[in-house]
Amino acid sequence: MAEKMTYVEASREALREAMQSDETVWCLGEDLGRGSVFGQYLGLQEEFGPDRVVDTPISEAAIMGAALGAAMVGTRPVVEMRFSDFALCATDELVNQIAKARFMFGGQSRAAMVIRKPTGMWRSSAAQHSQSLESWYTHIPGLVVVCPATPQDNYSLMKAAIAADDPVVYFEHKNIWGMEGEVNRAHTVEIGKAAIRRAGADVTIVSWSDTANLAEQAGARLAEEGISAEVIDLRSLWPWDKEAVTASVARTGRLIVAHESVRAGGFGGEVAATIAEAVPGARIRRLGAPRSLIAYAPNLEDQMRVTVDMIAQAAREMTND
């Protein structure tokens, strides 16, 4: 049965249920007892106590490193990085340690954990609190990369991430914490499976995270103009659903990949190159941020955005000729 939830409530409910059913699941991060920055943990310390919802020092390397040690002795940590930007303080711990712990020790160890990284542009937060760096982590073997865009996916994918035996880097978009939607607790989502948000025949628009919501709006606008866009929300970037995208582009012949992160080196390039190889003759466009920095002033911040208009315009141009 579906119930109304916001995006932030959805992952909180998923975490609460996981903690209720498995006492080895625990979470650690700064200010969790007060819900953390965006209320993702509200009420959990009251319910599960300070040993399982741990208020930590501002000490990202220790949070991440400690999570690995605790995972290696059989617990399942959920790591809160507060802002994805701050996770860079724990890059060695994530990239050199967590991602490699299973392989380089010959499979003796798992590093089952979720690393939560609130991501993206949100209300004049400027250069160190706004970045979208998800493509970096797709480049690191050992890591799973998940980017939910709706309350239902934030519920179902959080459950899947906690249940996974791999380290899952989990990007929640800060701009949509308050987004409401129907959530069915019985609905499961397999990591690696895209969602076809809108079926269409003329052009395939691939996106993820909050940009997938913009792509869906663009799809609706295009429909009014008689352009049939298929909108695919990848939901996870590693693994990503090549089959769904390939099948779609094989039908439409046109692909737009749109993401909030910087276009150069963004994951859109990987999607574009893969489809160029898989679907010869497909026409491909990439939309991403200019290779500049996110500023504080709203008009400057807006220069970095991929908008509904830009996605729709790209589709018009591609379907015009």
Binding site: G69, M72, V73, T75, F103, G106, P141, V144, P167
Partner: protein, 335 residues
């Protein structure tokens, strides 16, 4: 500390300490031969020759199911924790049946069967991981403890502060050990370290600090026994600063020409932990013949095991794609 003339238990323990140090040194001497003479060890190895008292003295104080995190210079700790030296040699040679299946090599040796959760190729990185292992143990209500060993070079890295602070704040069951061989790779540590160094920094975070002569295995063992007992009783983390000396270069290929002439030779002559323990045992009445037998047995054991390891095949090619991850595994899709 045990004195010459103590009872048989002490004598047996002191002999066991010597035997472990002899085995560690024999292992590493064979590993160096395998690297330099036989070209069987392909990657860098970082010997702990001259530092064996730390490994032998500390590891005898813990249980097989206790946790160990170590460094790139970790052969001794691993062997003393109870790891199988044949699997270790196979790992150094990158062979099938190596403790990490040939995927880790010397710098990533791990044996989870004996609680050895990994040597680490990044200086200081194991400090927070060890604190976290202790955190996990406490969370699940285990009476196991973690031992987290690092070198003096690590005290200038951020994880030293973050990991010690973490362990102290949550009163975790972890023994931090600074195995101070006085060299940070090829730079003398005190020339790049402000203040009083490792112990003072740990004390500033409220950890009880014990400083020992890290080349006196009896002193190391006695200190470790007491610290481990307190930690297991739930009294929170402690810090052991063991002063030793790295007799070799940073790696087996490093001739260490940057050291003042005669420094290493003086340590080998006057301060070698194996030589000192042999003298101690002789004072205790152990015969030269018995000491020679211990030495010869260690040599023979490790020479035979290296030979056996060298006869093992390399791992199957497709294991390059196994144990990376379940979801999005390269076993299905590597490119």
């Amino acid at each position: 500390m045990s004195e010459p003339g103590d009872d048989g238990d002490n004598r047996a323990r002191s002999i066991a300490l010597l035997r472990m140090m002899e085995r560690i040194r024999a292992f590493e001497k064979q590993a160096i031969l395998a690297a330099e003479r036989d070209k069987l060890v392909l990657g860098a190895i970082h010997p702990s020759i001259g530092q064996e008292a730390c490994a032998a003295g500390i590891m005898q104080a813990v249980r097989r199911d206790d946790i160990l995190l170590s460094t790139h210079r970790g052969h001794g700790h691993t062997l003393a924790k109870g790891a199988d030296p044949l699997a270790m040699f196979r790992e150094l040679l990158g062979r099938e049946g190596g403790c990490c299946g040939g995927k880790g090599g010397s710098m990533h040796i791990a044996d989870f069967n004996v609680g050895m959760l990994g040597a680490n190729g990044v200086v200081g990185a194991n400090i927070t991981i060890g604190a976290g292992a202790a955190h996990g143990l406490k969370l699940i209500g285990s009476d196991r403890i973690a031992v987290d060993i690092f070198g003096d070079g690590a005290v200038n890295r951020g994880p030293f502060l973050e990991g010690l602070n973490w362990a102290a704040v949550y009163a975790l069951p972890v023994l931090f050990v600074c195995e101070d061989n006085q060299w940070s790779a090829t730079t003398r540590t005190r020339t790049v370290t402000a203040g009083e160094g490792a112990g003072a920094r740990a004390a500033a975070m409220g950890l009880p600090v014990t400083t020992v002569d890290g080349n006196n295995v009896e002193e190391v063992a006695q200190a470790a026994d007491q610290m481990v007992a307190r930690i297991r009783a739930g009294n929170g983390p402690e810090f052991l600063h063991a002063i030793t000396y790295r007799q070799t270069g940073h790696t087996s290929f490093d001739q260490a020409a940057y050291r003042p002439e005669g420094e290493a030779e003086r340590h080998k002559r006057e301060d070698d932990p194996i030589m000192r323990q042999r003298s101690y045992l002789q004072e205790m009445g152990v015969s030269s013949a018995e000491l020679e037998t211990i030495h010869a047995e260690a040599q023979a054991e490790m020479a035979a095991l290296l030979k056996e390891a060298a006869a093992t095949p390399f791992p199957p090619d497709d294991t390059a794609f196994t144990d990376v991850q379940d979801i999005g595994s390269p076993a299905k899709e590597a490119f």
